[in-house]
């Protein structure tokens, strides 16, 4: 792919803004890691050697104990790989279980000392950030919660941009009655209180929907009420570009509407729009965290940062590690995204220097 020299220059400038660039690399790294978090933080084994055969249960279906020769009740219920490891080690028959680096899943209730409660960070047992009030590993829940939040935020950003840019651009380009009507529609639509709508709609979704479907619905609702903000910028940008000479020239040369929009106007508005991307991502992360915090987000026990913040504030004095982990994680993510955002804005700003008069 050959990039426009202007774009290349912008990318170069982005790389030169070191804070933003490194934030970008770190965030990509984290995303990459979280994509394979099942291999790093999980209560399912990476590999099991049983009777000389290796198997890799991480991404496979749930296995019952009988697969590994467990008998009685243990043979009929899903394998607890940590106990299987103890069992194999004790039997000493050469069978092995290799657990991930951090052998805790986001749902596993670990009763340290026979009691389910918030435990402080415990390196020996592998709870590096401690556990929450029902003995679940905080690091595991943070990682899986982070992944959901990031995927959600990226999907949200892509969809709002798709709708916002399309409608904004159409309003700016066609103008006239279309513009007038849509402006009124948007004014009304954007006055619907978004959070209440999410709460109301989400409260009537039947619980029979799977977690994935619920996330999808939440995404759809949020996108539905969030695209309006972008149209204002897009509309103005399009108006501006449309009245430029090059657009008129293209028209005179006989270019069709779609060609003008996609080849001429859109590429020239990218600079404006791209600077908003990181802030949209931040907004989406904050929104889903807030919803979970209020109890209107993902159904329990899905791991999420908002749910953890809520638990943390309720146990502020007795289990400060919950709220501090969640808070630190949230701050780091938001900071990274904001740094990237600043760098992008600066890199895409056509003026190197700005003079305020």
């Amino acid at each position: 792919m050959r990039l426009n020299p202007l774009t290349l220059r912008k990318l170069k400038r982005f790389r030169e803004i070191r804070r933003g660039y490194f934030s970008f690399l770190i965030l990509i790294g984290l995303l990459g890691l979280s994509a394979v978090s099942e291999l790093i933080i999980n209560d399912r084994a990476l590999a099991v050697r049983y009777q000389g055969e290796w198997s890799f249960p991480t991404y496979g279906p749930v296995e019952l104990g009988s697969v590994y020769g467990l008998e009685g009740t243990d043979g009929r219920r899903p394998v607890d790989y940590r106990r299987l490891k103890e069992h194999f080690d004790a039997a000493g028959a050469g069978d092995r279980v290799i657990m991930p680096l951090i052998p805790w899943g986001p749902y596993y209730n670990d009763a340290v000392g026979g009691i389910l409660r918030a435990e402080a960070p415990n390196f020996e047992r592998g709870h590096y950030l401690g556990t929450d009030t029902t003995g679940r590993d905080i690091l595991a829940r943070l990682v899986y919660g982070f992944r959901t939040a990031m995927l959600f935020a990226l999907a949200f950003t892509a969809l709002t941009y798709l709708i916002g840019v399309a409608i904004g651009c159409a309003m700016g380009y066609f103008g006239g009655l279309f513009d007038l009507l849509f402006q009124r529609v948007i004014e009304i639509w954007s006055n619907v209180p978004f959070l209440y709508m999410v709460i109301i709609i989400f409260s009537v979704i039947p619980a029979t929907f799977s977690v994935g479907a619920r996330i999808g619905i939440l995404l759809a609702i949020m996108v539905l009420f969030s695209w309006t903000g972008l149209t204002y910028y897009m509309r103005t940008a399009t108006y501006k570009e449309k009245s430029r000479d090059y657009a008129a020239a293209a028209q005179v040369l006989g270019a069709g509407t779609s060609r003008i929009i996609f080849r001429h106007i859109l590429p020239n508005t990218v600079a404006t729009m791209v600077t908003f991307v990181p802030f949209t991502v931040v907004g989406a992360i904050t929104a889903i965290t807030a919803l979970d915090f209020l109890g209107f987000g993902l159904p329990p026990p899905t791991p999420s940062i908002g749910e953890m913040l809520k638990q943390g504030t309720a146990n502020l004095t007795t289990a400060p590690w919950i709220v501090s982990s969640a808070f630190a994680a949230l701050v780091v993510i938001l900071l990274l995204v904001t740094f990237i955002g600043e760098a992008v804005r600066e890199a895409f700003d056509p003026r190197q220097f700005t003079l305020y008069k």
Binding site: L116, T133, T134, A207, T208, P299, P300
Partner: protein
């Protein structure tokens, strides 16, 4: 039944208002208007006394089923076919052979060491929205303090001696001086203590009892539950003289005495402006009480605080069973909405006591080695009590697909790991609920035990229902591809951890609970509309002698027309909303037992029936009994004192029987000690006289 009379009352009243607006001399007219209003109120009351019929139970049930109309009943009443509800008789009409009792052989339960004085500081979550005791918004968390725990009934159930004598609990006298029960005529005769006074100094008389029935039967109070309760559970009230009356019940159920002695008369003179605008007119008027505490106007600081003040001239202050109680001079309530904040206020010494029922408060937030506890400044108490238990458990909707299969319901029983929750989450403090009605003494089935968690038995039960294979997530599926997955709903946000633990455990047996946490109102609405699969909820139950079965298990509360005429299930039946039959149980055999139980007048027979029904319910397996909290726990600052035995057997919290007091001068001493670092002997007490073995 009195639509016409109400309209007749309203018209002149509205005319009066119009006249009042144009008046120059307001005061004179206002007082004239008030006089007229009072006259109207009395006229309405007298009309009610004269016309209110007493409906026999079968007629009332026919009316509820819609087989008899209101007009027909009015016609019957006009024709004199119905007995009157209110009867004004003379002392000569009293039967001669009455045997008067007064419970004076019972032991007192308060401590003579108690000292009067001081202020007890506490908090409520919501500011009371009214001082009325009935009608909209009256059922608030503040109501116990102006009604349930403070007001005197005619008699009160003895809270220590829970024996049943002659089919009744033991009662000690309150407003009544003595009573007499006639099982033949289902009537209880009561003699009021001549010394009894309202807090405004007026005498308490039999007229107040008559007025009470009128008041609660009136539609002006906007309280349908009371309307129903006071006209269905009583059939006659007779006034013999100022201090003697009798009340007749529709059936002579066990604890018939309690149904009359627990009544609380109302001060008729105070409600002299009683009318259609009662709800607004009496919104912030404190009702003169027979009890020890009054609310003074100047203590009502709306939205911020409210206080009870001890009436120094309380007529019963030296009365046996009532003396040495209600010791605090004032009880001050501030509004603290958040539990965590409430706890911090308690630690700061702004609030005197704090409930520690939840294990994390008892063990982690206020552990025994906490500085304030170890230095003896804050005391921790555990009190084992004995009373009917709230029914925490899983209520399955047996009208739902799959849940209509008994094997699946049994499997869910075996797949619910309450043991782990009790052991590891509640830390062994709570116990497993056994039946659908625990804590009713000899009315609770002695042998039934809830099914224990057992993966093998669960798998067997699910296999019988055709669920043998597991899908990739480990959830059982049948050969039609249905997954063994149910929505588990709750409105108890603070107990949702229990459900997430149970969810993981149930997966071992291939059962998937989809946990749904709603806010309290939404969850209740869902279960009332019978839209739930499985609901984690509890009914709170009062200290009654025997459990109720009709509300929760009779088929009329499950479906509209549950059965066809030939006794087979009606194929078109629809779940009935707004009833307490959450399991949608419709079982002819059970219905018959419930009807016998309802009609039975023998404690012995009712007990046998209760056991039989309990066994049927166990087999039906649509309720997974959850947990029972066999105690209450509380913490209090050191200046708070209680009797040696701490509290009484059936008490649910320290302010229910008001046995505590404040040691004079101690508050200053303890607060000074907190600053100076002085130590006291720590107080961590467990009172386990009534601990179940």
């Amino acid at each position: 039944m009195s639509k016409l009379s109400r309209a007749a009352f309203l018209l002149p009243f509205m005319a009066l208002l119009l006249v009042g607006c144009g008046s120059g001399d307001r005061d004179a007219l206002d007082s004239a208007a008030l006089e007229e209003r009072r006259a109207k109120a009395i006229a309405a009351m007298e009309r009610h006394y004269a016309t209110q019929p007493s409906l026999p139970p079968d007629l009332r049930e026919a009316f509820e089923r819609g087989e008899v109309t209101e007009d027909e009943i009015d016609a019957m009443a006009a024709a004199g076919e119905l007995e009157p509800f209110f009867v004004f008789a003379t002392p000569d009409d009293l039967p001669d052979d009455l045997v008067w009792e007064d419970g004076s052989d019972l032991p007192e339960f308060a401590s003579p060491d108690a000292k009067k004085g001081g202020t007890w500081y506490t908090a409520v979550q919501d500011y009371p929205r009214t001082l009325r005791r009935v009608g909209p918004d009256a059922n608030s968390s503040f109501r116990p303090f102006i009604l349930d725990t403070v007001v005197m009934g005619f008699g009160q159930r003895h809270p220590e001696d829970i024996s049943i004598v002659d089919g009744n609990f033991r009662y000690f006298p309150g407003i009544a001086e003595a009573w007499s029960e006639d099982k033949e005529t289902r009537t209880v005769y009561v003699r009021i203590n001549p010394a009894a006074r309202w807090s405004d100094g007026q005498r308490i008389t039999a007229d107040d009892l008559m007025f009470m029935f009128y008041f609660y039967q009136s539609e002006w109070i906007s309280a349908p539950w009371s309307n129903n309760f006071y006209s269905r559970n009583y059939v006659r009230a007779v006034r013999y003289d100022d201090l003697t009356f009798s009340v007749t019940l529709p059936e002579a159920k066990p604890d018939m005495l309690g149904r009359v002695l627990n009544l609380e008369p109302l001060p008729a003179h105070f409600f002299d402006e009683f009318g259609p605008d009662f709800v607004d007119r009496y919104q912030w008027r404190f009702v003169p009480t027979s009890g020890a505490y009054v609310v003074r106007d100047e203590d009502v600081r709306r939205g911020r605080s409210i206080a009870l003040t001890r009436n120094p001239d309380w007529w019963a202050k030296d009365l046996p069973f009532w003396r040495y109680r209600f010791n605090y001079d004032r009880v001050h309530f501030s509004v603290i909405r958040d539990t965590a904040k409430h706890f911090e206020s308690f630690r700061a010494g702004e609030v005197d006591g704090f409930g520690l029922n939840l294990p994390d408060y008892y063990y982690d937030r206020l552990p025994d080695d906490d500085d304030l506890v170890a230095r003896g400044l804050i005391a921790k108490y555990t009190f084992y009590n004995e009373r009917p238990r709230p029914t925490f458990g899983f209520w399955m909707n047996s009208s739902r697909p799959l849940l209509d299969n008994r094997d699946i319901r049994k499997g869910i029983h075996y797949a619910s790991n309450w043991e782990r929750v009790l052991r590891e989450y509640f830390r062994g403090d709570y116990t497993r609920m056994r039946t659908t009605s625990d804590g009713y003494g000899e009315f609770t089935h002695p042998e039934i035990r809830a099914r224990d968690f057992d993966v093998d038995k669960a798998l067997e039960a699910f296999a019988r229902a055709g669920f043998t294979e597991r899908d990739s997530e480990g959830v059982l599926v049948n050969d039609r591809g249905q997954r063994l997955a149910f929505t588990l709903t709750t409105g108890y946000e603070n107990l949702q951890d229990i459900l997430t633990i149970m969810q993981r455990e149930a997966l071992q047996a291939g059962l998937l609970f989809r946990v749904e946490v709603l806010d309290g109102t939404a969850a209740w609405k869902k279960v009332q509309e019978k839209q739930h699969d499985i609901q984690f909820v509890a009914f709170n139950v009062g200290p009654e002698m025997y459990p109720r079965f009709w509300e929760t298990y009779h088929s009329v509360n499950a479906y509209d027309r549950a059965f066809l005429a030939d006794g087979s299930p009606n194929p078109d039946r629809r779940p009935k909303a707004q009833t307490n039959n959450l399991q949608l149980i419709a079982n002819r055999e059970l219905d018959a037992l419930i009807e016998r139980y309802r009609a039975s007048e023998s404690a012995e027979e009712m007990r046998a029936l209760a056991f039989e029904m309990e066994e049927i319910l166990y087999e039906d397996a649509s309720f997974v009994p959850g947990f029972v909290m066999p105690f209450y726990r509380t913490a209090a600052w050191r200046w708070a004192r209680w009797p040696e035995h701490f509290d009484v057997r059936i008490s649910g919290n320290p302010l229910e029987y008001w046995l505590g007091w404040i040691e004079p001068g101690m508050r200053e001493q303890v607060l000074a000690a907190r600053r100076s670092g002085e130590r006291f002997e720590p107080i961590i007490e467990v009172h386990d006289r009534y601990r179940p073995e």
